[in-house]
């Protein structure tokens, strides 16, 4: 496999894992956040800047970075998750900007807009990415089919009714938000390891929006949808890399293409491409049973 292909797979893993985290936050619990890229930035910068400055191995600073992200996520969540959804969304935009501003402020350490370079090569990044992706998908899928997933979907639908069943809406939202931010932080570290260079621009709220677009495209209620659309939409631009339009590489049009796509989806198929469908072993089981019924008895099954 070529270096390019490996790099692409890692990038797709990073994108998918972040979107999976956003699925838990937005798809399950209905929180709309533009701050996920900020947690990626925190993960990336804290890990490698501290590692270089204090001469500590990055896997130690990495753990610290994730813990720091968890703490910050909790700090943001506690006052703001009591508020209306739009307030919360705006806070996250502000938070994103603040993180960007802080990175520039600590220029001496982070190299500001020029970018922090010379991040060490890590062997086995491919397996780390794939492995952690599988873990996170495992987690979020389990979350969806647990009592937390049910309560989250309930509160997303109707907070007041959810409370009338004793569901502690506020604390559940905090838990899920913190979880999603921790995953994003980890993804940020992976991204730093893949790109070997990080700049504040790579973690703007535009990236957060891109992730939300992927989520809504696949369908906010479908984890499978989120995974497929994140992988698909991330990979497709790669195939048109070398095509130019108006003297500008097609890549620049990526965001515009996403914008158009999502406008269509939000307007005409708001439930997303996959709607409520999930890839389930149950579903496969039912299908097999149907086939069995049809061939064995020769009659239509009563399903």
């Amino acid at each position: 496999m070529s270096v390019y292909q490996v790099g692409l797979i890692i990038q797709v893993c990073i994108t998918v894992m972040t979107v999976v985290a956003i699925f838990a936050m937005t798809g399950l619990a209905g929180m709309f956040s533009m701050g996920q890229a900020a947690y990626m930035a925190i993960g990336a910068y804290v890990t490698f800047v501290l590692s270089k400055t204090l001469q500590i191995p990055f896997y130690l600073t990495g753990i610290f970075a994730i813990l720091l992200s968890i703490f910050l996520a909790w700090l943001i969540a506690v006052p703001t998750l009591k508020l209306r959804r739009d307030y919360f969304a705006f806070i996250t935009v502000g938070f994103s900007r603040m993180v960007g501003a802080l990175i520039l402020y600590f220029e001496d350490y982070t190299r500001g807009a020029i970018g922090f370079t010379k991040i060490p090569r890590v062997d086995g990044l491919l397996w780390l990415s794939l492995g952690s992706l599988v873990l996170f998908i495992f987690w979020i899928r389990n979350l969806k089919y647990s009592r937390f997933g049910r309560m989250a979907i309930a509160l997303k639908n109707d907070e007041i009714a959810a409370r009338s069943f004793g569901i502690d809406v506020y604390h559940l939202k905090i838990k899920i938000y913190v979880l999603a931010s921790a995953i994003a932080s980890f993804a940020g570290i992976l991204m730093a390891m893949r790109n070997r260079v990080i700049t504040p621009d790579s973690f703007s709220w535009k990236m957060s929006t891109e992730m939300q677009i992927f989520l809504f495209f696949g369908g906010t209620n479908s984890l499978t949808g989120a995974i497929l659309s994140a992988a698909g939409l991330r990979m497709i631009p790669e195939f048109v890399r070398n095509v130019n339009l108006f003297g500008v590489s097609m890549q620049e049009y990526r965001m515009i293409a996403y914008a158009l796509l999502i406008t269509l989806v939000l307007s005409f198929r708001p439930q997303g491409l996959l709607g409520e469908k999930e890839l389930n072993f149950r579903w496969v089981g039912k299908l097999l049973e149907r086939i069995k019924n049809n061939t064995v008895t020769g009659k239509e099954s009563n399903d």
Partner: protein
């Protein structure tokens, strides 16, 4: 020195007020955040700039302003028609408005970046006299114009809301959209009106932003956040509160930037926003409205 900073701050605040009010209108009455507002202003900054440059000799500034506000209105209505209208019809959850507005925001900014990205354009000087001197203070004529136009627009808007029939309809919808519709208020008319006003405000704000800070794709969005901040501090449901908060914010920001620098200011402002939302989410003048179950 303090007075000088204050004078600069007021015109800074005046622009914020335009942004805050335009944003607050949609936020309070249609109950969603129009994230696209910022890039609408950016677009109008560009439009104003090219309009100004298209003619030789350049047209009077007022004409540019009018053209920009007209463009702002067109853009606003387009965004509503292409984006929000379907979501309204589908009765989708509020989240969809956020994403759609973010979407448009990015769309507009991307287009501007692709075609004009790397340059920062600056408006040619509008006035022959750049600044007036009053005692030891220097007041830039542009700042006076900004203040004047903003005051005019905002006063006109407040009069519209409080003294006209359509203003009454807007206030009714702000309190209870459902009942207003049942009482015969045409919600489509209201929506078109709101977006028209927001569009005009963003157009004017865009040109002023372009003049003050230069014309580049990101000029609008950064100010939009401060406009939102002002809406919060001023209070939910109160346009007057938003205006005063925006002015205060403008002045405060100038002072802060002078004393502690621009980057630190961003952090401080964000901290203030968090603090407000924590301690008093309904802002200074606003009242929390309970949801009917």
């Amino acid at each position: 020195m303090v007075f000088q900073l204050t004078i600069n701050g007021i015109s800074n605040g005046a622009i914020y007020a335009l942004v805050a009010v335009g944003f607050a209108l949609v936020f309070n009455i249609l109950r969603f955040s129009n994230f696209a507002y910022g890039s609408m202003s950016s677009a109008c900054a560009f439009i104003g700039f090219f309009f100004q440059r298209a003619f030789d000799p350049p047209p009077p500034f007022i004409v540019t302003l009018l053209f920009a506000s007209f463009s702002g209105m067109v853009i606003a209505l387009l965004i509503d028609f292409l984006g929000y209208r379907r979501i309204r019809i589908n009765n989708s959850p509020k989240i969809y408005y956020f994403l759609m507005s973010l979407n448009f925001s990015i769309f507009i900014e991307q287009i501007l970046t692709i075609f004009y990205g790397t340059n920062i354009y600056s408006y040619p000087s509008i006035f022959k006299i750049q600044s007036l001197q009053v005692g030891s203070l220097y007041i830039k004529t542009m700042n006076l114009l900004i203040l004047g136009v903003s005051v005019l627009l905002l006063v006109a808007l407040i009069l519209l809301i409080n003294k006209t029939k359509i203003g009454l309809a807007i206030r009714a919808v702000a309190i209870d959209a459902e009942t207003s519709r049942l009482m015969g208020i045409n919600s489509n008319m209201i929506i078109i009106t709101i977006f028209t006003i927001a569009g005009i405000l963003s157009g004017v704000a865009g040109v002023f932003l372009g003049v003050q800070y230069g014309v580049y794709p990101g000029v609008g969005p950064s100010v939009m956040l401060k406009g939102f901040l002002a809406s919060i501090i001023g209070g939910l449901g109160s346009l007057r509160g938003a205006i005063f908060a925006a002015l205060a914010l403008g002045i405060f920001e100038i002072f802060l930037t002078f004393f502690i620098g621009a980057t630190e200011t961003t952090v401080v402002l964000f901290g203030i926003m968090l603090a407000f939302l924590f301690i008093r989410p309904q802002g200074i003048a606003g009242k929390l409205v309970e949801n009917k179950v």
